[in-house]
């Protein structure tokens, strides 16, 4: 219960309940005053009308006529109203001695202003005598006769009591309903929040498979649950990815480290000659360099994935980048007896990081050259529909359709490629670079349906905005004409000797 009192939901319910109770009470008070007051005003209006009527009678018929009328009315009241004198009449001489009416003597009561007086009357009801408040109007007739017309307030009192009673119960029932409703609403809300809390607790304790229950009502709590679940899915995926990477790192770094260690140990045991020692050391250094290479590649990927280089800060020419990388690899293709076919547009401007894009295209070409035994490797760069596209196609063995996503994962190398040098990180970097540039990269058959489908890797990036590209494209077009002097300037700068 203490916990319940402490909840936000309870506090909210309490505030709303207080507001609710105040408005209900105000409403009831208004009803009370308008009904009970109405009865009072009604009574006074009736007395007023009656006393005026009697005064007129007096003027027309004189004192005797008035007395006769009053006696008639008193008798009528006796007969029709269960022997209860609701209306009080009294007419007295100037010395306040009663002449007629149903009051035995002039009441000894104070003025209540405007000719109204209030006084107690004794009433006989079913054998008992009760004292009841009465209210009356008094006028003094010509001849100093006093006329009193009044009414005992028995019925008004009964009515008021009934109203008070009814309104009291109404208030009580309403407040009880309010409390109950607030309690159930709060509990309901708490219940839903509790479900989220319970799930969170499970997750905190390590069970990432738990999900917040979704009721299907589509309310805010459901939306919250759905959002949390999507978030949890992502966290789980990342955790899984991380675990996989850790496993892979453990495997791919531990294996060469173990090899390195055992080689050193064996060398020590063998106690070989100096030449063997030197060889063992050289092998060890080569192995260490391989490890460093893998490590650097992992770092590059992590860096690209973190987006720390703020890709998109400058406009670069993907075509030029591709031409430069192609030029770097052209002799390699040549040496392997592969044709390097280039189809590169004049200028394809994208927002991005020149170094990362260079490395991505270099990795793609490197892969294609490595895994294509014969035929060709083609690099195509162009743009269409607001997208820049760089494709590296080859006539190699291709990648089976069901492995085309897997090869982008870190350290994944296809069967049969383990013998070729490489660390299985090349495509991971390309994907990280693509993502960093809001682009995508995927694999396709180069020649679908053929015996050798080959492989086509498509790297797609958004083009730089048109206004930026217009100015830059002009510059890019001029560039070839200036190539020679630019080269000299660059050379001087690079070597720093000029």
């Amino acid at each position: 219960m203490g916990r319940f009192l402490n909840t936000n939901a309870f506090r909210l319910a309490a505030v709303y309940f207080a507001l609710f109770a105040t408005s209900v009470l105000a409403l009831l008070a208004f009803i009370y005053f308008s009904t009970a007051g109405f009865i009072e005003r009604q009574t006074e209006a009736t007395i007023d009308a009656e006393i005026r009527g009697l005064a007129e009678q007096y003027q027309e018929h004189g004192l005797a006529g008035l007395i006769e009328i009053i006696e008639q009315r008193v008798n009528a009241a006796h007969h029709t109203r269960n022997n209860i004198d609701d209306t009080l009449y009294l007419i007295t001489d100037p010395l306040l001695h009663p002449l007629a009416g149903n009051l035995e003597k002039w009441p000894s009561a104070g003025e209540r202003g405007n000719g109204w007086i209030g006084f107690p009357v004794e009433e006989k009801r079913g054998g008992t005598t009760e004292t009841e408040d009465a209210r009356a109007s008094v006028i003094v007739l010509p001849g100093n006769f006093h006329l009193l017309v009044g009414r005992d307030l028995h019925e008004a009192r009964i009515f008021r009591e009934r109203i008070t009673h009814t309104l009291g119960w109404a208030a009580l029932i309403t407040l009880a309903l309010g409390i109950a409703g607030g309690f159930f609403m709060t509990r309901n809300m708490l219940h839903k929040v509790d479900a989220v809390n319970r799930t969170s607790a499970h997750i905190i304790h390590g069970d990432l498979t738990q999900r917040v229950p979704v009721t299907g009502s589509g309310d805010e709590f459901d939306q919250l649950a759905q959002n949390l679940n999507v978030m949890l899915d992502q966290v789980e995926r990342l955790m899984l990815g991380m675990r996989q990477v850790t496993d892979n790192i453990a495997h791919d770094l531990r294996t060469p480290l173990a090899r390195l260690r055992s080689r050193l140990e064996v060398t020590l045991i063998e106690k070989p000659d100096a030449a063997r020692y030197a060889e063992a050391l050289r092998d060890t250094i080569a192995e260490a360099d391989n490890l460093l290479g893998t490590f650097n590649a992992l770092l590059s990927i992590a860096e690209a994935e973190a987006g720390s280089r703020r890709a998109g800060a400058e406009v670069v020419d993907l075509a030029e980048i591709a031409r430069n990388v192609a030029e770097l690899y052209e002799p390699v293709a040549d040496e392997q007896g592969l044709a390097l076919k280039l189809d590169i547009a004049d200028s394809v401007l994208v927002r991005g990081d020149r170094h990362l894009l260079s490395q991505a295209i270099a990795n793609l070409l490197d892969n294609a050259l490595k895994y294509t035994p014969a035929g060709y490797v083609a690099l195509t760069v162009g743009s269409a529909d607001g997208l820049a596209r760089a494709e590296v196609a080859d006539s190699g063995p291709g990648v089976p359709a069901d492995r085309r996503e897997a090869v982008f994962d870190r350290f994944v190398r296809l069967e049969g490629s383990r013998s070729t040098p490489g660390n299985g990180l090349g495509l991971s970097l390309v994907r990280a670079v693509a993502k960093l540039h809001d682009g995508a990269v995927w694999l396709e058959d180069n020649e679908p349906g053929g015996d050798f489908p080959g492989l086509k890797v498509v790297l797609q990036l958004p083009l730089a905005p048109a206004n930026a590209s217009a100015a830059d494209r002009g510059a890019a077009r001029v560039a070839p004409a200036l190539a020679a002097p630019t080269l000299v300037a660059e050379t001087a700068r690079d070597f720093g000797e000029a």
Binding site: I285, D289, S308, Y329, V332, P421, G426, T491, D494, E497
Partner: protein, 224 residues
């Protein structure tokens, strides 16, 4: 030639000092930034090798302080931070070259030699000559003896770099950085292929080769 190494890691420092001493340099060592700055301020050194992260005073701050005191001694920055941004920051602070840890000693030596050569300066040249190999930077042509050698633009830049560092070992990484401006490891031996193509053009048909492979380090263009 006198060098100053500012490096706080004792083992790494010992490794660098030993290697450089054996290569014939006189090497002083400082283990922290402020001492290093004090020693370097004398201006008695031909080149500085500065670790980026140092106790008391950051390596980049040391370099910036030296430069603002108008001490132009060439500086090679050593750092475990290898991203392009880190490199740019280091060079902007006044460093002349940037080497990422861990490195092969041959790489360090080659870069120090390149720095020392740069430090000696000299007027802007329009012609480079190594033995009978001549390069005209204005006409952009190359001759070996009487024979004109046709080079592609990139081969021209590659040869120019080698000629400017004639007699020195030039590593593959240095070539990749200076000729191609790439700071990543291209995995395949692309540089070797480019160099062997260049070798075909300048050495084929001549008795004495000019372009030598230095095992475990890189290449050297040498008339001797």
């Amino acid at each position: 030639m006198k060098l100053l190494v500012i490096e706080d890691d004792r083992e790494a420092a010992a490794y660098v000092v030993k290697g450089l001493s054996e290569s014939g340099y006189v090497v002083d060592l400082a283990h922290e930034g402020r001492d290093g700055l004090f020693m370097a301020s004398s201006g008695n050194y031909d080149a500085l090798i500065v670790d980026r992260m140092l106790p008391n005073m950051d390596g980049l701050a040391v370099i910036a302080a030296l430069r603002s005191a108008d001490i132009r001694t060439p500086v090679l920055i050593l750092s475990a931070l290898g991203a392009v941004d880190d490199r740019v920051k280091g060079l902007r602070a006044g460093g002349d070259d940037y080497l990422v840890k861990p490195f092969a000693f041959a790489e360090l030596l080659a870069r120090v030699e390149a720095l020392l050569r740069r430090g000696s300066g000299g007027p802007a040249t329009t012609k480079l000559k190594v033995g009978e190999l001549e390069m005209d930077l204005l006409a952009r042509n190359v001759h070996r003896g009487t024979r004109e050698i046709e080079l592609l633009p990139r081969e021209f830049r590659l040869l120019e770099f080698l000629m400017r560092h004639a007699g020195q070992v030039v590593t593959r990484t240095m070539l990749l950085e200076n000729v191609w401006d790439y700071h990543f490891d291209p995995q395949t031996n692309v540089i070797d292929v480019h160099v062997s193509r260049l070798r075909q053009k300048i050495d084929k048909g001549f008795e004495r080769p000019l372009l030598h492979t230095v095992r475990g380090a890189g290449y050297r263009l040498d008339a001797g």
